[in-house]
């Protein structure tokens, strides 16, 4: 099967004042369809930089990046924007929903930038995605009327509404409490089980248990790349957590 993501000797340097910071140094790996990859590392290990490049939000200083068979490095800004719109679903730590905007409008947003969708298709697709994240009863709630977990679900629905080839999550549970984190993780595992490809960046080692592969970064190098044969179930952990009293 063709790789969804293949990166070769990826480097990313930042110039801060007179110093050059090497955030990524010759990183290479590939990801196949249906994988659930966690990328781990401490702050400053380069994991967020890597994810931003994978999400076409940032460009590498050198090295090649092939997404779904196309070289992203050779694309112009407009083509990268189209690629983000069609191939990638990005989930942020701080949700990044549009303020005071309903869940439905937030989820519809990527499709508004895709001329292939009519009004009706847009709505159907958005409702479907909201249903998949269990928010079908919250579609007209505005972003400021929802809890953190609900907002992150809206963000996940928004990320998958365009049927991307890959979902990228940057510390998607970083702002959430334990219980809500497991709920989100369980959701990710369900999406994985449905055959979606996911990359989850985190500094929390526990999360690696629930993924199929774990890449460990330190100082811009990959120091470990392991497959996980014993994937834990987030749903089970969730069920074992004490129910909240209020």
């Amino acid at each position: 099967m063709e790789d969804i993501i293949r990166i070769e000797n990826l480097c990313r340097n930042f110039v801060v004042g007179s110093e050059t910071v090497h955030a990524l140094r010759n990183v290479s790996f590939s990801i196949r369809p249906g994988e659930f990859v966690t990328i781990m590392g401490t702050s400053g290990s380069g994991k967020s930089t890597l994810l931003n490049i994978l999400g076409c939000l940032d460009t590498p200083t050198s090295g090649e990046y092939y997404l779904d068979g196309m070289s992203v490095r050779k694309m112009g800004a407009n083509d990268r924007a189209s690629y983000r719109n069609l191939k990638i679903g990005f989930i942020f730590q701080s949700y990044n929903l549009l303020a005071k905007t309903t869940a439905l409008e937030n989820v519809e947003l990527p499709l508004l930038y895709n001329p292939a969708y009519t009004r009706r298709m847009r709505r159907e697709k958005a409702l479907e995605a909201l249903k998949a994240v269990g928010l079908e009863h919250r579609i007209f709630h505005r972003s400021n009327q929802m809890s953190g977990g609900q907002q992150q679900r809206v963000a996940i629905a928004r990320a998958m509404v365009n049927d991307p080839v890959i979902l990228l999550a940057d510390e998607a549970t970083g702002n959430l409490d334990t219980r809500t984190s497991y709920e989100i993780l369980a959701l990710f595992q369900r999406l994985h089980a449905e055959g979606r490809t996911l990359i989850f960046v985190t500094h929390n080692p526990e999360i690696a248990e629930f993924s199929s592969r774990n890449i460990l970064l330190r100082d811009g190098h990959i120091i470990e790349d392991t497959r996980n044969s014993r994937i834990g179930s987030a749903q089970k952990v969730l069920d074992s957590l004490p129910k909240e009293t209020n």
Binding site: D58, R84, P110, L112
Partner: protein, 406 residues
């Protein structure tokens, strides 16, 4: 890209942030309406001051006979007999820019009615004189062309004359009074004007047809003067020149010979008027300029801040697939909607405020078309530009830099 979708996006963004949109619009509304109402007040005062000065007769020119040298002795101009009816006719027919023109003869004397009498002056003039001196008939009527031709013994009297002659409040209309033994029938009473700036009672006059006074009362072939009014003060100098030319011709004066007449305008008045108009125009320009500047800076600030504050939103939109031009188009539509509707409301409010001032406070206001057009254009263009420019800057950032923008 489907631009209809971008319009949907812009409208959603606006309707989800009504307060922000309203506050931005408020800057434009205040900018536009303050310029319009300020200039309307300024222009209103300007017009009312100009009118008051004009009331004083600033565009009036008086032609009088000049004091000539006779055998080495300088004569008093008043006794000169050089101004004739043909001079009046020549001026009336040949000089351009004239509004009105009247011959003028006068005599001081005692006016008598029954047992009462009073000293006053009688003026022989034509109907144009009324416009030139801003006189009007309050009661009765003005004498007609027919009266003029017939040298009819009719007159129109000032309020002071009425008060002096009819102490018991009789109706003066139709009464016959005598001036130097010549009887005149009163056919009208002038509207009171009060004292002039020199302390002269302007109501202590009698006006009668020029022909009557010249032929029946004075029995002279000449006139004491010619009164002329010009259509605008700016032509005064030109008209003085023309009259001088015409009179030199009719009087056969050539080369270096001295004129036997004087042509004078109320130059001081004219100067005051020009000066006042100039000061007011400068004042207006300053008010308008400052209001526009303050309004423009306000709009600039609020637009710039509100769009810069949305850099993260721009980053997010780009991260889910919006291209730079989609961002620009969206912000352009938003700022056009806000600026144009703010501008329209501002125009309405500005004109409304000006009219309200006139209606409730009786201020003289006059809305200037150019103030409406310029303030609307400047404010909306500023609004649109400063809505678009920061959006352009943000749309050129790397999406990840925009989304992390603080």
């Amino acid at each position: 890209m489907n631009y209809g979708n971008l319009i949907v996006i812009a409208f959603r963004a606006l309707s989800n942030n009504k307060l922000r949109g309203f506050l931005t619009m408020l800057g434009i509304i205040i900018g536009v309406s303050s310029v319009i109402s300020m200039l309307a007040i300024g222009e209103g005062s300007k017009i009312s001051i100009e009118k008051q000065i004009q009331e004083l007769g600033a565009n009036m020119i008086v032609v009088t006979p000049a004091n000539a040298m006779v055998g080495g002795i300088r004569q008093n101009g008043v006794i000169e007999q050089t101004l004739k009816l043909k001079d009046y006719q020549a001026i009336a027919s040949e000089v351009p820019y004239l509004e009105s023109c009247s011959p003028y003869v006068t005599k001081s004397g005692q006016v008598i009615s029954g047992a009462n009498n009073a000293p006053t002056s009688i003026y022989g003039i034509n109907e144009d004189y009324m416009d030139i001196r801003r006189l009007s008939v309050a009661k009765g009527e003005m004498f007609s062309d027919q009266d003029m031709k017939m040298a009819a013994k009719v007159c129109v009297v000032g309020q002071t004359v009425v008060d002096n002659l009819f102490k018991n409040g009789e109706d003066p209309l139709g009464q016959v009074i005598r001036f130097d033994k010549v009887p005149f029938r009163i056919i009208g009473v002038l509207a009171p004007k009060g004292y002039n700036s020199m302390g002269r009672d302007q109501d202590d006059i009698i006006v009668a047809p020029f022909t009557t006074i010249q032929k029946r009362l004075l029995a002279i072939p000449y006139m004491h003067g010619i009164y002329v009014s010009v259509i605008g003060e700016q032509y005064t100098a030109k008209v003085i020149q023309e009259i001088t030319g015409v009179l030199r011709q009719t009087h056969g004066i050539t080369g270096g010979q001295e004129d036997d007449f004087n042509v004078r305008s109320l130059e001081e008045m004219s100067k005051v008027l020009t000066m006042a108009t100039k000061v007011l125009t400068i004042l207006l320009a300053c008010i308008g300029g400052i209001s526009l500047l303050v309004g423009g800076i306000g709009i600039m600030n609020i637009m710039y801040v509100s769009v810069t504050e949305r850099t993260r939103e721009i980053g997010l939109r780009m991260s889910i697939g919006a291209k730079g031009r989609h961002i620009l188009f969206q912000f352009l539509i938003e700022s056009i909607i806000i600026s144009v509707s703010g501008g329209v409301i501002g125009v309405g409010l500005g004109i409304g405020a000006a009219l309200a001032l006139r209606f409730f406070l009786g201020w003289p206001v006059s809305v200037l078309l150019y103030s409406v057009v310029i303030s609307f254009l400047v404010c909306t263009v500023t609004g649109v530009f400063f809505g678009w420019y920061p959006a352009r800057k943000a749309s050129r950032l790397n999406p990840i830099d925009a989304i992390r923008y603080e």
